[in-house]
């Protein structure tokens, strides 16, 4: 029968979990940066499209047609950027959920390791010390 007493623990496994949460966080940050970049590009495109629309209606008669064509081209780009932003938002949410879960599991396992007196890897000693302090309080 498997019981807690028959299991041998390896606190180095915490490093794998730590790496996973870091990776998940990095992916979340990347997605967030990418979203921000798309948002800025979209804002810029909206500005440019607005200017061209104005030119197509109030600018030199000779340049109105070209301005209209360019504005329509940029508006297509805005639509594309909007779709990409929606996709990126979904991706960001997924990464955020994954990062949250990975972090929660890591902390639970670190607490377990601290409470059971396992030898915590040096890299995680500081975080383990904080947990031990909280438990003591």
């Amino acid at each position: 029968m498997t019981t807690t007493e028959t299991i041998e623990f390896d606190a180095d496994r915490l490093l794998v979990l730590d790496q996973k949460r870091r990776t998940a966080r990095a992916l979340q940050r990347d997605a967030s940066d990418h979203y921000q970049d798309l948002r800025e590009r979209r804002e810029d495109a909206k500005q440019r499209a607005g200017n061209l629309r104005w030119k197509s209606e109030h600018g030199d008669a000779s340049g109105r047609h070209a301005a209209l064509e360019q504005a329509e081209e940029i508006e297509k780009e805005i639509e594309k950027l909007t779709r990409q932003m929606a996709e990126m938002q979904t991706e960001q949410n997924t990464h955020s959920t994954t990062a949250g879960k990975a972090n929660s599991l890591f902390r639970k396992c670190l607490s377990f390791a601290v409470e059971n007196g396992l030898q915590i890897p040096d890299q995680l000693a500081e975080e383990a010390r904080k947990i031990a302090q909280r438990v003591a309080e």
Binding site: M1, T2, T3, T4, T6, I7, E8, F9, D10, A11, R13, L14, V16, L17, K20, T23, T98, G100, K101, A102, S104, L105, K108, C109, S111, F112, A113, L118
Partner: protein, 193 residues
């Protein structure tokens, strides 16, 4: 073995492992749900009525204690001085009389004088509330939950073994956030082969 065959074999092994992981996680969810069911499974009617009997006995006893029947022996007591106990409360600066204690005493007296009838109604209601569910005594519940938890831990160890095998093959598999730290931190040697 050619590289293509190796790749195909490895792909098939990964697919098998992913399928196994799904099965194990479903099994895990089943056991957790079974544990939750066991935790709230009703007590057997007999045990429930035993609780009622103990409570009723206490209520009746306390009711008579509150009434202090020995006061009736006091030759100086006048009939108007007999009353059900109550207490005063102060709320927003105004005081009033609350009758909670008196209610309890009345209930205790009812039980004391009509216990068999009250008990029979309670028994009927308790039996109806079981609704065909499995009833468990405290000991049966503890034993069944312990068995389920052992099974759950074994399943968790199997799951962790599969996750590590998949990770070793280069696949990034997410562990469940509610995975058991005992399994996640188990040494490779403690995982089932």
């Amino acid at each position: 073995m050619s590289l293509l065959k190796k790749l195909t074999a490895s792909r098939s092994a990964v697919t098998d492992a992913m399928d196994q992981l799904d099965v194990i996680r479903a099994k895990n969810a089943d056991i957790q749900s079974e544990i939750r069911r066991l935790e709230v499974a009703p007590l057997p009617v007999g045990e429930a009525l035993e609780l009622f009997d103990n409570w009723a006995e206490k209520q009746a006893e306390e009711a008579f204690q509150s009434l202090r029947p020995e006061l009736l022996l006091d030759p100086g007591l006048r009939a108007g001085e007999l009353s059900l106990p109550d207490f005063t409360y102060v709320l927003d600066g105004k005081s009033g009389r609350a009758h909670h204690r008196a209610d309890e005493v009345l209930w205790g007296l009812i039980i004391a004088t009509a216990l068999p009838s009250v008990r029979s109604i309670v028994e009927e209601k308790v039996e109806a509330a079981v609704l065909g569910r499995e009833c468990l005594s405290r000991q049966e519940r503890a034993e069944k939950i312990e068995r389920a938890q052992v099974e759950l831990l074994e399943i968790e160890l199997v799951e962790e073994g599969i996750v590590r095998a998949l990770e070793a093959s280069g696949l990034d598999v997410q562990r469940r956030a509610d995975a058991d730290p005992q399994a996640v931190l188990a040494s490779d040697a403690s995982l089932p082969a």
